[in-house]
């Protein structure tokens, strides 16, 4: 091997600033998309378990539509497809206000919302129906029952798959580089282009993603333990 590593390309010139900006954009994009995805996921996941057919049907349509189209296509759809349909003025305004970021955020959030909703639905459906009956039998409305009993229990049960889905969301935010959102992967590619140092740039990107994801997984593991339901099978901790 006669390749000489030159790691200094990562902090000389503009590289450091690019990486930092990429990291911040990735975090911002992922965090906003995650909030959207969780909100949509809880809503759609819960609605798919209610008795009222039109609501169930609407939620099912959302899930089946969005999870069955590639994320990349969705990003293109929102970024290249939708704006030309809008009036000229709005188009101009959008492109002056980071249209690619918002298109990427929406695509990411809506796509992962559909996937998260299935995780939440499986959590809800693992709760015996009699729990719901017990809560409405006390005079709680269906909405209260979901808010106070069904969802709090379901959300505690699904922390591991929800962690998975959150990590996927963060990693999938890199797809937004295809619509020129200057996120982390975009910036590592830029460093590569400017310095012709692919291995260094991509190693930096890889490590940053790895650290980010490991941090999230660690936090979620803490959340899981903190909110564990007493008496359920646990990996660690004293027997209840």
């Amino acid at each position: 091997m006669n390749y000489t590593f030159k790691w200094s390309v990562l902090w000389t010139g503009e590289s450091g600033r690019w990486l930092l900006q990429g990291l911040l954009t990735t975090l911002e994009l992922s965090a906003l998309a995650w909030v959207l995805a969780v909100a949509l996921g809880i809503l759609a996941g819960a609605l798919r378990t209610v008795r009222f057919t039109p609501l169930r049907w609407a939620a099912t349509s959302y899930v089946e539509f969005f999870r069955n189209v590639p994320l990349l296509v969705w990003m293109f759809f929102w970024y290249f497809g939708v704006p030309p349909l809008l009036p000229r003025g709005i188009q101009d305004w959008l492109f002056n206000h980071g249209a690619e970021f918002w298109a990427g955020m929406l695509a990411l959030g809506v796509y992962h919302g559909a996937r998260i909703s299935e995780v939440i639905r499986s959590g809800i459906q693992s709760i015996p129906r009699t729990q719901f009956e017990a809560s409405v039998a006390m005079g709680l409305t269906t909405f209260q029952s979901y808010r106070l009993i069904i969802l709090p229990v379901a959300l505690r049960l699904i922390v591991p798959p929800a962690t998975n889905e959150s990590l996927n969301l963060l990693k999938n935010s890199s797809v937004a580089l295809t619509i020129s959102v200057a996120e982390l992967t975009f910036q590592t590619r830029q460093i590569e282009t400017y310095t012709a140092r692919a291995i260094e740039a991509l190693t930096a990107g890889t490590l940053i993603y790895l650290v980010l994801c490991l941090s999230i997984a660690t936090i979620m593991a803490k959340v899981e333990r903190r909110y564990a339901i007493p008496g359920l099978i646990a990996r660690v901790g004293p027997a209840a």
Binding site: E133, A134, V136, A137, P230, G231
Partner: protein, 248 residues
């Protein structure tokens, strides 16, 4: 509800699960203060019957009137009705992410909008009443079946219901825990609570019930005082049922 009107009335009530005719032409009136035990072989429609009282199931023909309100009417306010009808389930159904105390405080705070301090005071008094004062902060998983069921009764009582429904409250319990639950139910009956209990505890029926309703295949086959029913059931099916459950 005006004085003298029954607390619960079934009028020509019918219900089907698909093709299965689970309740057939039920006519039944339960007076305020009555303790009624519903018994019968499994699949006879007992549970469905009492689940129709608080609208967990709907009858498809006829009417069910609870505390003066028809619950088959369109637009009936079920949550409001249910605050006046407590229910205890076979599988306890305590909420696993809440302590015993929180389980009891939930509905008073969220439905009756009681202040936390007031709800807590009532909840602690109820725990005391079911003999579980020291278990206030225990989670359901750390309580025995009998204790869970007593908390569940306290939880239902927290809404100060006029009627209590018991759907096989001791069927999921180990024998040594059955009595602690029956004792609480007996005390409740003595205080004049209107109670409808689906149970196989014939001793309880004999000692506490004012009336026994015997069901089979979705019908009320006979009803009467426990003395009459246990000593001399009028129907053949009643005789058969008793011979099966009382021989050992």
């Amino acid at each position: 509800m005006t004085a003298g009107e029954p607390a619960i009335v079934f009028r020509d009530a019918d219900k089907w699960f698909g093709k299965l005719h689970v309740l057939r032409d039920i006519n039944l009136a339960i007076a305020a203060g009555d303790v009624v035990v519903v018994c019968g072989p499994s699949g006879s429609g007992k549970s469905t019957l009492i689940r129709c009282v608080n609208g967990l199931e709907r009858v498809q023909a006829g009417d069910v009137v609870v505390l003066g309100d028809s619950i088959t009417k369109r637009g009936v306010n079920l949550p409001a009705l249910r605050t006046r009808v407590g229910m205890v389930f076979q599988s306890f159904n305590l909420f696993p992410h809440m302590t015993a105390l929180q389980n009891i405080m939930l509905a008073p705070m969220k439905v009756r909008k009681l202040a936390r301090a007031e709800a807590e005071k009532t909840a602690r008094a109820l725990l005391e009443r079911v003999g579980l004062r020291e278990k206030a902060d225990a989670y359901p998983a750390n309580l025995s079946g009998g204790q869970q069921q007593r908390v569940a009764i306290a939880r239902a009582l927290a809404m100060q219901p006029k009627i209590m429904l018991f759907d096989e409250p001791t069927s999921a319990l180990d024998p040594e825990m059955i009595n602690e639950v029956l004792d609480v139910m007996t005390a409740l009956a003595r205080e004049g609570m209107t109670m409808m209990c689906v149970t196989h505890e014939m001793g309880f029926a004999r000692r506490v019930a004012h009336r026994v309703v015997f069901m089979d295949e979705g019908q009320v086959v006979e009803e009467g005082t426990p003395q009459d029913f246990f000593a001399a059931p009028k129907s053949d099916r009643g005789k058969q049922f008793l011979s099966k459950i009382l021989t050992h």
